[in-house]
Assembly symmetry: C2
Homo-oligomer: 330 residues x 2
C-alpha cells in the first residue's frame, strides 16, 4: 500500500470507534462531566492510535470488530492524559481553543480526566473475548498506564533534578512514551490471539519508536513554522526538559550550564527573545540538535530491526503500518 492509501485507511479505520465513544460518552451523560468532556473531545484528533490497534489486529488475522472496545480505550486514555498533562504543564491552549482547565477550572479538568480513565477501563472490560484474554488486555492497559505516569513524574521534576542529562531523559522518554505508543498495536495483537513472540516484538518496537517520536517533537520546536502555533522555541520558553536541554546540559561549560538552568527555570512569559536565541545557539554549538536527530534515527532503525525478526508473513502484514509510523518520526 502507498503512504497515501495507508493514511486514508488510518483515517477511515479510526472512525470505527466513534459509535462506541458516543455510547460511552453520551451528550446527556453525567452533569458537568458530559459537557466538559464533549468540549475537549469535539475538537478531535485523528484517531491514529485506535486505527493502528484495529489494523494490527486485522493484519495478524484477527477479527478487528472485537478490538473496537480496546481501540476506544486507547483513545480515551490518550485524552485523559492530555487533560491532566495540560494542567501539569500549564498549557493554556489545546487544539486551538482554551484547554479544559483554562476554560472550566483545574478541579473540573482533574475530574474529567479521572472520569475518562474510568470510561477507558470500562471499554477494555467490554471486549468480546474470553475472560482470560480480557484480563490480559486489562493488565497490558494498566501496566502501560502506570509506566506513562512514572515517566510523567520524571518529566515534571526534571528541572529540579541536579543529575538530569541524556541518560535520565532516555529513561523518562521510554517510560512516558515507549509503552504508550505501542499500546493499541499490542492490544490488537492480543485480540488477534497472535503468538507471544509477535506481541513482544510489537512491544519492543514501541519502546524504540515512542522515544523517537518524543525526540523528533523536541527538535521540531526549533524549526520555524513547525513548532506549536507556528512559534519557534516554545519548549525553551516553557522550560520543557527536552533532549536538547539534557544534551546541552552535559556538553557545555559551567557558566553556560548556569545560564541555561536559569533560562529554563524562568517563568513562562518572562523568557526574552534574546534568551531563546542564546539557548538555540548553545544547542547548535554543543551538537545537541545533531545528536537528537541521530538518536531518533537510531531508534527508528532499531524498531525496524525488531520487525525484521518476525516471521516473513507477519512482517509483510505489519510493514506498511510500521513504515507509516516511522516516516512520521523522521
Amino acid at each position: 500500500m502507498s503512504d497515501t492509501s495507508i493514511e486514508a485507511k488510518i483515517l477511515e479505520q479510526g472512525k470505527r470507534i466513534d459509535p462506541l465513544l458516543a455510547e460511552l460518552l453520551p451528550s446527556d451523560g453525567p452533569a458537568h462531566l458530559a459537557e466538559h468532556i464533549a468540549y475537549h473531545m469535539e475538537t478531535g484528533g485523528k484517531r491514529i492510535r485506535p486505527a493502528l490497534c484495529l489494523m494490527t489486529c486485522e493484519a495478524l488475522g484477527g477479527n478487528s470488530e472485537a478490538a473496537i472496545p480496546f481501540a476506544a480505550a486507547v483513545e480515551l486514555l490518550h485524552n485523559m492524559f492530555l487533560l491532566h498533562d495540560d494542567i501539569q504543564d500549564g498549557d493554556e491552549m489545546r487544539r486551538n481553543q482554551p484547554s479544559l482547565w483554562k476554560a472550566f477550572g483545574v478541579g473540573n479538568a482533574i475530574n474529567a480526566g479521572d472520569y475518562l480513565l474510568g470510561r477507558a477501563l470500562q471499554a477494555v472490560l467490554r471486549c468480546p473475548v474470553g475472560d482470560a484474554v480480557r484480563l490480559k488486555l486489562l493488565r497490558l492497559f494498566l501496566d502501560t498506564y502506570e509506566r506513562t505516569v512514572e515517566g510523567q513524574a520524571l518529566d515534571l521534576n526534571a528541572r529540579s533534578d541536579p543529575h538530569w542529562g541524556v541518560e535520565r531523559y532516555m529513561v523518562m522518554a521510554e517510560l512516558k512514551t515507549g509503552h504508550y505508543l505501542a499500546l493499541g498495536m499490542v492490544g490488537g495483537a492480543i485480540v488477534a490471539d497472535a503468538p507471544e513472540a509477535t506481541v513482544e516484538c510489537l512491544r519492543r518496537m514501541g519502546e524504540n519508536m515512542g522515544p523517537a517520536f518524543q525526540i523528533r517533537d523536541d527538535t521540531i520546536d526549533l524549526t520555524a513554522g513547525k513548532g506549536r502555533g507556528g512559534m519557534k522555541g516554545c519548549d525553551i520558553r516553557e522550560g520543557k526538559p527536552s533532549i536538547l536541554y539534557a544534551h546541552a546540559l552535559s556538553h557545555s561549560m559551567p557558566a553556560e550550564q548556569e545560564r541555561l538552568l536559569q533560562i529554563m527555570a524562568c517563568p513562562r512569559g518572562q523568557t526574552t527573545e534574546e534568551d531563546v536565541a542564546w539557548v538555540e545557539t548553545l544547542y547548535e554549538r554543543c551538537g545537541s540538535v545533531a545528536f537528537a536527530r541521530e538518536t531518533a534515527d537510531k531508534l527508528i532503525g532499531q524498531a525496524l530491526d525488531v520487525l525484521g525478526q518476525l516471521p516473513v508473513e507477519q512482517q509483510s502484514a505489519l510493514r506498511g503500518l510500521v513504515t507509516f509510523m516511522a516516516e512520521r518520526t523522521t
Copy 2:
C-alpha cells in the same frame, strides 16, 4: 461483640493490608512518586474501610485472606480521592501537615493520585480468585469509582448551579459517598461468594449509610471543637455546598438567599466572622440543622431495615459491623 471490642478488632484487621501496601508502594519505587505517596500515606488513616472488607468476608463464611488485595485496593482508592479532592477543594492541610499539592505542587499531586489509582486496580487484579470473580470485583470497583467521580462533579459545580437544593444534594451525596462507603463490604461479600441478594443488600445499605455519614459531617461543622482543626463554620468559609446550605437555600426569603449565595461565593479567607454567624443563625431559623439530623437518622434507619431483610444467620454475622458504622454517624 461490644462496641469497644469491635473497634479494637477493626484496628487490628486494618493492619492486615500493610504488607501488601508496602509491596505495592515500596519506598524505593518510581522516582518522585514513591516519596510523594509516602509523604501522604505515612500520616495514616485508621484503615476502617479495608477492615470492614475483611470482616464482612469472614462474617459471610469467606476466607478473608483472599480479600486482602481488594481491601488494599479500597484503601488506595480512598487515598487517591483524597489527593485529587484536596486540589479540587483547595484544602491546604491534610492530617495535620500540608496537603500533597501544597507541599509538592499541583502537578505532582495529580500524578500521585493517578498512580495510586493504577496501584489500586493492580491490587484488584491480584485477588486470588477465579477469573470470573476477579472481573466481577473489577466491575464493582470501576462502577463505584465512576459514581464517586460523578458525585464529585456535582459537588464541584454546586455553587454555580441555579437549581441547587436538597434534591440535588441528595443525588450528589448518594453518588459521591453511597457506593464508595459500601465498596469494601460489597467486595468482601463477593470474595466470600455470598448470594446475590446479600451483595445487593450491602450495596443498598451503603446507599443509605454513605449520605448519612456525609450529612453528619456537614452538621458537625457547626459544633464548636468538632469541626476541622477545632474550628466552627469551616464549610461556610470554604463555600462547601452542605445539606444545610441546600436546605436553607430553598427555605429562606429572596434577600436572604442572595446574601447566602454571596457569602458562599466569597473567596476563602475573605468571609468574616459576622458572615459565618449570620449563616449559622439562618440555618437554625430555617430548621436546616434539625432537617439534616432527621434526614441522617432516617437514612440510618433505612440501612438497618435493609439489614433486617437478610436471612437471620447473616444478620447476626453483620449486625455488629453495621451497628458500629451506624453509631459513627449518629
